[in-house]
Assembly symmetry: C2
């Protein structure tokens, strides 16, 4: 695993804590390449009273450079080769690691994945996909949740086909249902882009079952729900905050809240930790910018598990 | 009150039941003009063992025409003058009622309100506004929740200013905070439209406080959150369905679920019943298409209460 230890809001010590926690708890043992300034990482190890030499299969990759606010995703991979996020993806390109995890900027991470690892055939833009709980047994896979703002019809069609493949592999389902998020289920609803995307999905995606409204996303009617990255991002984050609201109301009722928590576990950012990019040739996980040590630990476990199961599918669409 | 008794999915008997329930329970007495086919309405009264003559201040407005699937919002008000929804707004224009309630098509209802009642000055497109619960004491007002798909910056700015006025009047708050929904709070995030809208809101709306992410909508950080009608619609409906998901998990724990229900009451379509159009010269409420008798009763009560409090503000922006 290549780990961007400088990304996110909480700093190196917190993310390092996450790495060490994941190494203790993840059922699948893994090697980690820690990308960041060498001295910062050594300091973080010392602050917790240990040296990194004490840990087998834990390597420091000194990355003295950093991504600056003005850097564009299309150039960062060329000009910031010594930044942690670009180093992660480069290690992956060189075949030294199987997956990368970063809590950094989505655009920079996706740009690096696209330009260094490459896209799958027929994928113009990769997407971020997240699982949400439903009132049925299986969760729903929502994509895109933030990698692409203002999608063309063709991109949305690709999301549907990638989601179909991913969910199918994940749950061994031969034909999961794919729905397109809209303000109504009637054909006349929504924008021209959605109308075109719906028609194209009908022709090119076996599982396509039409439009779905916001109120049915968590119903389990469809196993994959596709939408523009703006809408998906707002929806995902709102569900997370709804979870927090419910938690507040139920505070003091520990047992009940725990049963709710268990059910909603994938909605809690602390638990799901990270979401994969679909459509790039490699396993790249984007963790929450606000990831705590615990959330980051889950992010690493998710990436390790994905590699273990051969997910996300990286063969061509 | 003018009531479109034919709108929605459940038919005349159910909506009539809602009207009679509202008349029994609403603290403010009101007169209702029931718009629909006379015979259908008489039949519905008879089916429940009473005649409409037994009810004071309940009038049947015979509307033999109906809106057909091919009708456009811009023409329905001219060609379907004898349909229930157009009759409602016409009664309002003639000053015979103070407010209209319909569970029918949003576009047709908004078209009728715009063309017959007119827009407030400086409002190019009215918006639908809905209250959502927050982790703080006061709810958050979200708009637009579905009247406008694919908004220009200028429209979004108007939503902010209308929401500011509406919330301020509702809660007697001199300067509620207005935020713009985006995928991040940094200025560089989101589309060109959002960037432009943010800059214009900063200049023209006193309460504007910048971008807000989906995860903070229910936090109470901002009292008004503005967005494109597509995003708002998906978000509102998803919150409703999240409520259903929580209800399922908590089933069997009646007391707790009731406390949750009380807190989330405005999220339950059965309770909030309807959302007002802001920006038209008159009180027009859109009820859920799937409104039950109970939900419709709450919708009528909401409209009556709005008139009583002089809401929505119909003076110019």
């Amino acid at each position: 695993l290549a780990v961007d230890l400088v990304s996110g809001d909480r700093g190196v010590p917190s993310l390092l804590e996450g790495v060490l926690h994941a190494r203790r708890t993840c059922l699948i043992p893994f090697t980690a390449h820690l990308c960041g300034r060498r001295q910062d990482i050594i300091d973080a190890f010392e602050a917790r009273g240990s040296g990194h030499e004490e840990h087998d299969n834990l390597f420091i990759e000194d990355c003295p450079d950093s991504i600056e606010p003005g850097d564009t995703p299309s150039r960062a991979w060329k000009t910031r080769t010594h930044s942690p996020v670009i180093r992660c993806i480069t290690l992956q390109k060189e075949g030294r690691v199987d997956a990368s995890v970063s809590a950094g900027d989505t655009g920079i991470l996706m740009g690096a994945a696209i330009f260094l690892l490459g896209r799958m055939e027929h994928v113009s833009r990769p997407a971020l996909a997240a699982f949400l709980p439903t009132t049925s047994v299986r969760p729903v896979l929502l994509l895109d949740v933030g990698a692409n703002i203002g999608c063309r019809a063709e991109q949305i069609v690709t999301f549907g086909r990638m989601g179909f493949n991913y969910f199918g592999r994940y749950f061994g389902d031969d034909c999961p249902k794919v729905a397109l998020l809209n303000v109504g289920h009637e054909e006349s609803k929504g924008s021209a882009v959605l109308s075109e995307a719906g028609q194209k999905l009908g022709r090119s995606c076996r599982g396509y079952c039409g439009f779905i409204e916001g109120g049915r996303v968590l119903s389990g009617d469809a196993q994959i729900v596709v939408c523009d990255g703006f809408v998906g991002n707002v929806l995902l984050k709102a569900c997370e905050s709804f979870h927090a609201l419910t938690a507040q109301v139920l505070s003091g009722h520990k047992r009940l809240f725990n049963s709710l928590k268990k059910r909603m576990t994938i909605l809690n950012a602390e638990n799901y930790g990270a979401v994969p990019f679909l459509g790039v040739r490699g396993v790249v996980y984007k963790a929450h910018g606000s990831s705590s040590a615990m959330a980051f630990s889950h992010a690493l476990a998710a990436a390790v598990t994905a590699v273990h199961h051969g997910l996300p599918i990286t063969h061509d669409l």
